[in-house]
């Protein structure tokens, strides 16, 4: 059961990040500040991918709540790092980013760490 929750949490987190990254890059650079924030909020309301990203974020948070209820904190928080692995794979495949050796090795180390957490 715990790995199901970890999978849901990580998939939702990564999906949310990918949708945000995709849509925000398409929107161009945003400014910070009061006027920038209002424009940002307006933009969120008009872009369905950003709304979907927020829904995914909520899913991810609720799964984290379920996970910390059933499993120790010392498992739940480190396990959430599995998102780095999926994110790296999808950044390469979906966003067509260049994944360097350092990032690939890092993702593999995280994967090994998460595998060890279960024990």
């Amino acid at each position: 059961m715990k790995w199901v929750l970890v999978s849901v949490m990580v998939t939702a987190t990564v999906l949310s990040d990918l949708l945000q990254s995709f849509e925000m890059k398409r929107a161009g650079e945003q400014s910070v500040g009061a006027r920038g924030l209002i424009r940002l909020l307006k933009m969120i309301a008009h872009r369905k991918f950003l709304i979907l990203a927020i829904v995914c974020m909520a899913f991810s948070f609720f799964s984290f709540m379920a996970l910390v209820q059933a499993e120790p904190l010392s498992f739940a928080v480190p396990a959430s790092a599995a998102s780095f692995v999926l994110e790296t794979v999808l950044a390469k495949l979906v966003l067509k980013e260049q994944v360097g050796v350092k990032r690939a090795v890092g993702a593999l180390i995280v994967l090994a760490g998460v595998a060890l957490l279960g024990g």
């Binding site: 890059k25 398409r26 161009g28 650079e29 910070v32 609720f62 984290f64 709540m65 379920a66 910390v68 209820q69 059933a70 120790p72 904190l73 010392s74 498992f75 739940a76 928080v77 480190p78 790092a81 780095f84 790296t88 966003l95 067509k96 980013e97 260049q98 360097g100 350092k102 990032r103 090795v105 890092g106 993702a107 593999l108 180390i109 995280v110 994967l111 090994a112 760490g113 998460v114 595998a115 060890l116 957490l117 024990g119």
Partner: protein
């Protein structure tokens, strides 16, 4: 300037850890939910410890935004990976969780791997408008 950056960095790490701890404490003391009923989680938000945890996590998120205005993402992300180790420590000390040697090794590997992955964060794809990667 660096003192301010490091103070905000410490504040962020502390808020995130305390927020997770409060959330975990609150959730662990709630009546268990057998079904995946989303309403259960909406109700859980009103538990004082869960609510406190969520507020701290939101403030942590805002602190992180301030931090990102002072320091590069490629500095912030690897440094904040220490949060994984901190969560394991707090779980052991405060929540009296059993953390096996294998889990410690896993946590350290996650910290190292996350720091490595996030230290490479930069823009590698072409954007429509933008500044060059730092």
């Amino acid at each position: 300037m660096w003192l301010r950056t490091y103070s905000i960095l410490l504040l962020f790490i502390a808020l995130k850890a305390a927020g997770n701890l409060s959330l975990a404490w609150g959730m662990q003391h709630l009546e268990r939910n057998a079904s995946a009923n989303p309403l259960y989680y909406v109700r859980a938000i009103f538990d004082p410890f869960v609510a406190l945890g969520i507020v701290m996590l939101i403030v942590a998120l805002l602190t992180r935004m301030v931090l990102l205005s002072l320091a590069d993402l490629s500095f912030v992300l690897p440094v904040t990976a220490v949060g994984y180790v901190l969560a394991a420590l707090l779980g052991k000390v405060v929540l009296h969780e059993v953390v096996t040697t294998q889990r410690w090794i896993g946590t350290i590997l996650i910290f190292a791997g996350a720091a490595l992955v996030s230290s490479t964060t930069q823009i590698t794809t072409q954007k429509t408008t933008g500044e060059s990667p730092k």
